[in-house]
Symmetry: C2
Subunit: 365 residues, 2 copies
DNA sequence: ACCTCCTTGTGCAACGTTTTACCAAGGCTT
DNA sequence: AAGCCTTGGTAAAACGTTGCACAAGGAGGT
């Protein structure tokens, strides 16, 4: 590929990249043999021949044309990643890990931001399919997968991330998620143990599986502590707010403002995730109260920023790196072997990380 | 592949996606005509014919095979995005915007995290090129582009984002960046106007263009205020720390710890970016000091989290959405027209956003 | 000597698209 | 009526791979 010193006619061909034919000619073999060297096992030829092919490839800087290969085989070394919004650091970090795993296996990652809009997801995944991509990590956690079902039935390998299996799911997929119920229970129990009894749950609309599960964990924990469900204070955003993914933080901030303005404001708040919790914290401060003292706040995810906040955020950690690696590995296996492991689920255990944003109930003011 | 209820033969073809031949047959025309309808202008045929083709396409749910198209034309509707780390919310947000612009034009975005490692970038971009991708947004801001030069000379369209033009740059590229010098000057002048005289600059190794420029703006502002360069306190990380992109925040935190432990600690700190500034703020608090009162901190970027921090972060805003759109638009034009606008640069004006993390110099303790 | 099998290859037909060159038929001009 | 555009459309050759089917040439068995 180099470039500088080519005066003889080879230039043009070197420019657009050598083909397998040129390699074959240079090595004095047929294209088939080169192909065999590259794909079938190289044991199919004399060591001497193999050496010549190797040398020719190296010398010409040959890289197989992916389009041609894909056209012929129907495969691409690309997986799709559909996240609500990569501007959320949690998804950013997830994308980083997924991409790392993919890179190590020679795969690439195609990024799609769906804002949890099913129609947008459908359109995206349709395109990915048309591009020959047969593996997708879908992170929207929508309860229904109907919008992508046709493709899954046609052979698309799907990993539903941050979403547990639901009745009616297609069989040809796997779910990878943290145990959101337990996670929310851990968070809520922590607040209860600190003595809180007026606890609010702040989220965007509860339209995704993970959010519903977290809510369930929250409610279960309250009930286990002998509180009635009516004691739960739930703030799920204005009805017109699509999913609260574009700006969860802003949503959290408004929520806190609302809640703190109320008659009998909560002494603790469980936020749907860390970004939301950071927004809630800001809202609490807006109201002139101190996070961790006047009001306890707990998040979910344990993004890097949780530890940098003031006070640092108590939260529920997801083993994200592991999950990302698992998602990719699974996808790769399915795509490469054809015929997928069907109906598997991977449920990871979350971990409570206690920091400064939670504390004992303040004396009544 | 698929499975369930295939009794009639047509199913198989519907499964793997219809081809242009099937569409042609269904419409009673030749493949060429269908192709003309799709690419050349549809004015090339009778309205009646066109209608039949349209109907056939709709009815069969035909989507052109990208691999075949790419093999034939050599083009793909994909641009590469190479960022230091998408886990940094700034790059996450940038990716979101770029992807939005791409989506609107029917393009996809391939995500690459380089950690500013030139070798990794080279390998990445080589692969993108081999994949037929002819447009890449490179965000590492490395002073030398030698590692990607061969490909650029062969026809790769490059947008160097967050990096101004350097002597020796290949001509076939454009630079899009905020004016980092002015930005850093704004930040520093703000601190000077508040009365600060002992000001520190915190960054990872100054190996990227944007960082050097920010540092220059910082130093210029000090000099303009009549301070000697020696008054500048510069903390650029341990020598063994590659670039400080993996964990800028952690770096900022350690930096603050170091600085605050010193004999004559600074009263204000300019951080290389917002993530770093958030880390610095955490470090300042670790040292038992109050951000915005005991120590002023200013960042760069204005990520969403800047406004959520406690206290909210004074910072320099980049018009990111505009820049992302410009980057994509340019790339698209180049890729589609072949032969690029050469040697152009786009330099955007930054804006100082004053929030609570900066304040007047505290009385000496 | 003949058949069989193994080794080390090669030839050729796809894969689904785009595009160049060509063609037929009708309408104008002269 | 001959020549020439124009219109509406087609045939066929690529693009660079892969993988099946086949082929020499030799080794081993009977």
């Amino acid at each position: 590929m180099g470039s500088r010193d080519l005066h003889q006619g080879a230039t043009m061909t070197a420019m657009s990249g050598a083909t397998i034919h040129q390699v074959a000619k240079a090595a004095g073999v047929s294209p088939s043999t080169v192909s065999n060297f590259l794909n079938g096992r190289p044991g199919r030829m004399l060591p001497e021949t193999r050496a010549r092919v190797e040398e020719a490839i190296r010398h010409l800087g040959y890289r197989p044309n992916r389009a041609a290969r894909q056209l012929r085989t129907g495969r691409v070394q690309v997986v799709g990643l559909v996240v609500p919004s990569v501007a959320n650091p949690f998804w950013g970090a997830f994308a980083l890990h997924l991409e790392g795993a993919a890179l190590a296996a020679g795969y690439h990652v195609l990024l799609c931001n769906s804002a949890r809009d099913p129609e947008r997801e459908r359109a995206y995944i349709d395109e990915l399919w048309a591009d020959g991509i047969r593996g997708v990590v879908l992170c929207s956690s929508l309860p229904s997968l109907d919008h992508v079902l046709p493709l899954v039935e046609q052979g698309l390998n799907l990993v539903a991330f941050d979403r547990t299996a639901q009745a009616g799911d297609p069989s040809r997929m796997v779910n990878i998620s943290v145990d959101n119920v337990i996670g929310a229970q851990l968070a809520t129990r922590h607040l209860l143990e600190l003595g809180h009894r007026r606890i609010a749950f702040v989220s965007g609309a509860l339209r995704s599986v993970n959010r519903r599960e977290r809510f369930r964990g929250f409610r279960d924990a309250l009930e286990n502590a002998g509180l009635s469900p009516d004691d739960a204070i739930v703030w799920s955003g204005a009805a017109d707010e699509p999913y609260g993914d574009l700006d969860v933080a802003g949503l959290g901030r408004r929520a806190a403002a609302d809640l703190m303005r109320g008659d009998d404001p909560p002494t603790a708040i469980v936020a749907i995730n860390d970004m939301c919790a950071l927004g809630v914290s800001a809202g609490v401060r807006d109201a002139g109260l101190r996070v961790g003292q006047d009001v306890s706040v707990v998040g979910f995810d344990d993004i890097v920023l949780a530890d940098l906040a003031a006070p640092p955020l108590t939260t529920v950690r997801q083993p994200m790196a592991d999950m990302a690696a698992a998602a990719f590995t699974h996808l790769r296996e399915c795509v490469e072997s054809d015929e997928p492991a069907t109906g598997r689920s991977l449920l990871m255990r979350p971990e409570l990380v206690v920091r400064g944003s939670t504390g004992p109930v303040p004396p009544p003011r």
